[in-house]
Amino acid sequence: MTSVEYWQKIAKDLSVENEELRKQLGSFQQPKGVAVQEVLTQLFVEKVKDVSPLESIIDTPTHAEAVKLPGFAKSSIKKNLSRTSFAQMDVSEGLDKDLVMELSEMEYSEHFRGLDRLDAVEVLERTNNIELLLQMVLKDVPVIISHCDKDLCYTYVKFVDHPLTKVSPEDMKGKKDTELVGLVPGALETMRIKKEVLELGIAIGKEVTVTMDGFGKRWLVVACEPLRNKAGQILGVITACMDVTEQALARERLAQMREEMAVREATEKELRRAIRLADEAMEAKNNFLAVMSHEIRTPLNGVLGMAQVLATTPLDPEQRELVSAMVFSADVLLAIISDVLDLSKVEAGTLKLEEKELNPRDIVKHVVRTAIAASKDRGITIHADIGDDVPSVVYGDPLRIKQVITNLVFNAVKFTRKGHVKVRLHVAKFSMEARKTDLKHSVSDSLTRASKLESTEDAVHMTDRKTEGNEILMGRSSLLKLRQLGGGESWDPLMEGGRRDLPELSVTEDEMGDTIRGPITGTAHSKRLMKMHSAGFTFQDVHEAVTGLSGGDQKASTGGDQAQRDFWLKFEIEDTGIGIPKDALPTLFEKFTLVHSSTTRKYGGTGLGLAICKQLVELMDGHISVVSTEGKGSTFTFTLRCKRPPAATGSPGSAKLVSETKMKENLSHSTANVHKLQAGMCSSLKSETILSNLQTYQVLDDDRGPRRSVLVDATSYRVPTKLPRGSLKVRHTNDSDCYGYLDDSREKARSLEEESYSHTASWAARQGAWTESRDRGGVNRGGLRRTSSGPSRINTLMMADLDHSKSVPAISAPGPVVDKKLPSLLLAEDNKVNVMVALSMLKKLGLSADVAYNGMEAIRALQAKHYDLVLMDICMPVLDGLEVTRRIRRYEDLGYWDEESTLTPSDRKPGSPGALEDLPLKVIHKQSASSPVIGLDKVKRMPIIAMTANALSDCERQCSATGMDSFMTKPVTFKKLKDVLALHLPHKSSMPSP
């Protein structure tokens, strides 16, 4: 056999083998998701095309072509080199490594570098032509192809553009993975795979991670396949390796994100759960409070009721005083129970304050009197010191103010074994300038003001402030700081995260002098102050400052009415009790806080009192603080922003002055006749305008003897309340007005009254539900007005306190004679007893109502007749109150009753519980379901008042959402009914006086 024949044979064999190899490689690649085989075939064909000119070159070599294809000159490829079939491919005698070298140099020198070290046999054995073509084909495929021998040493490496190691492919030859990258896990793993491939003769693919110097951590997909010769012997391992680092990193990021998302979802779920639990807990708490307050209130009402009945029986003065104290205590207890309930409202920001006329002097006197009665055997003196400048009529929430004072006074009494408890009430004075800035509620202003004060006020003050280094609080806490000088411990709850948006109160010299009195040796200030008081300067100053009316003070009078009416009342409750330890001060105003557990055992208490005080005071735009020296006593001080009643139009300044002057004069009188006269005048003056049955009582005031006429009635408070649409306009009187009119002629008084009326035409007077409520929390939930339950506390107090009074129903007040037309009412209620009681109450109010004993009857009644208002029971047979309301509102929207609104529920069961069909029905049944009202383009909205035994807020919300206007809890009381009707009945058909 010639050499050529030998090589031809070899080449033929290898062609076959290479074909096999190609197939194997294809099948190896394919499972990896790359259709390599197909691609390779195609590319291969193309490449062969490119090479095809070789044929002609071989046949007819020319210089020019030789130049084009430099490798040709040295090649001796046979003519029959086929571009389509490897099987036919022949290897010419001249085929040698040079061809490979030339081609590689020409196109892929980098990849073919080192091939010259292989002899021709090796080239043919391992790469042959197909290898060359594969090299070309795989040029852009990001796969590293390598071949290792049986010792797992590289014999060939084909890199893509991005080599994995710094070692060149050439240098890799003859080395193992571990020798190249060290004994790292990835390399070991790859070696292991290759070894396995060698041993088992199967293809194995796996992803390995290799960390290499300069390349960091790389993720590689390694696929190994044994390379066999024709005899099936394994010659080595072919490895295809792909860098999938980016994908792996993306995959890891994805996994990480999924993990984070899962964590977030879990957290969110947990938070939602926590919120739900908190909501449930809050709801449970509110329900509990609602239920408990009701449970406590009910027997307490019994006690109060008995005491009040007792007060109406003949009693000697001592007994009467005791009963009075008893009533007052029960009353306060009731209020506190309500406030425990309110505490949650405060926290939820939904507590509403009332704003109506009150007499702060009376409130203080009442509290002190009660405290005296309650501490008769304690051996302490309790007295009130009320400044002459304190007006008798201001606007505010009497119950809340009384509650705060009562809490503080009773606290003081509780902790005082000897000495005294003193309640001082003054008007806090401050300059106009300060007041103006004060109205801005600006902390930054207060800073400026504080620094201004610093420069002008006394040295002690300044030094102290500098020591403290807290200028912001200075204006507010001047009192406090001065107290500190006196050695007492003080605490300002604002310093512990209290409201900082409160108006700063700049204290004038007078004020400071005032505060210095008492335990501190501020003699000079004290004397000066007393002198000023005795000269009447203080009153005058305050009067000028606040009202801006005297001396033609045009500048002051240019200020807004609001500013003119605002002023501050300062209440001080001083005791000589046990005092408060310094370390207890910071938490003193927190709820459920008692100074020491032993305190509870010794003195009792819930720990709620001061917390309630603080919350209430702050709700009233005020500020509370305490100064205390352990063992010597404490002084609680709170200031409240109050409003004076607005002056009448015309010449308000003079009118007001006259009124107040007369008030002072009258207060100095002590003859009952004068007051009877006043009451008489008042009653005659008001007789045309007063809504309902007012009763006037003569009240002997405190021990000083001034007698005052007090009107005890729900409507005796003037309230700056804007009338809700369709509300009842009410006129009313108050004692200060009476005094103001005393010296005027009746006509003048009437004229003033009329002016006042026109000025305040948009006001309504009401107690409880009528009173405009200030929503401190800024949340108006549902907007339903809830009539307060329980007896009218102020009134009952007054009644019990009328120790020397004889009730004189001096006023017989007929209703307005403007329009005699009575409002038409519909009472939708299924309970006979309830119906009877409600009708009786309505009768007492001079009203009557048609009755519908179930929801459908109510609908029919409404179809038949126009009503001004509906009192709607919620829980009714056939159709409940909510559904009826929905239908009514739909009717009002549409202008006619649609069919759906007149349908009786199909599931109605005749004779269902509560369907009291046997009762006489006052409603005229005029079936008009099929004939909708024509011409009613727009139906006037009719007030619907819910009546339900369910007092919980959910029910109230539901009623509100359904379109009801007010919410009245059962049992219906006269007051609730009166209030709610007065609120919603149109003026022209206002309630007649019973």
Binding site: M306, T313, M326, N831, V837, K843, K970, F974
Partner: protein, 149 residues
């Protein structure tokens, strides 16, 4: 303080025992010259109505299967009227009675029916005396409480 002859049998006692609550004073307040018998009328209506309701309740509790909705409806009625009259102990029983209906607790319902009857009988027997006392107070020129209207 609240003790002495006559008191134990009167309004004080009823208040003291929690048999009546403030709502009753509302009714007292509603009685005046124009309706001198109002209290008696409304109380009588309450009694008659309650007797009927208690009968209905007894019947509905005998039914098999027991329809708690029907029972609850009767109790709701009873609660409403006792609340209106100020019979607060009856009302309290009704409140817990309704819980039993909610829980479909037959034994609880039966127990509460017995309690309701018991409380109702107490109210019925006491109210008669109370009404007389009230009438006496008015006749003697006394003032009834809660005249805040």
């Amino acid at each position: 303080m609240v003790s002495g002859r006559g008191v134990d049998e009167g309004v004080f006692f009823l208040f003291w025992q929690g048999i009546l609550d403030d709502q009753f004073t509302q009714l007292q307040m509603l009685q005046d010259e124009s309706t001198p018998d109002f209290l008696e009328e409304v109380v009588t209506l309450f009694f008659d109505d309650s007797v009927k309701l208690l009968e209905n309740l007894s019947e509905s509790l005998k039914a098999d299967p027991l329809d708690y909705k029907v029972v609850d409806g009767h109790v709701h009625q009873f609660k409403g009227s006792s609340s209106s009259i100020g019979a607060q102990r009856v009302m309290q029983v009704c409140i817990t009675f309704r819980h039993c209906c909610d829980n479909k607790d037959k034994q609880g319902c039966l127990d509460h029916l017995a309690k309701a009857k018991e409380e109702f009988n107490i109210v019925r027997s006491k109210l008669g005396k109370m009404l007389k006392l009230e009438k006496k107070i008015v006749d003697l020129g006394g003032v009834l409480p809660f005249m805040d209207c």
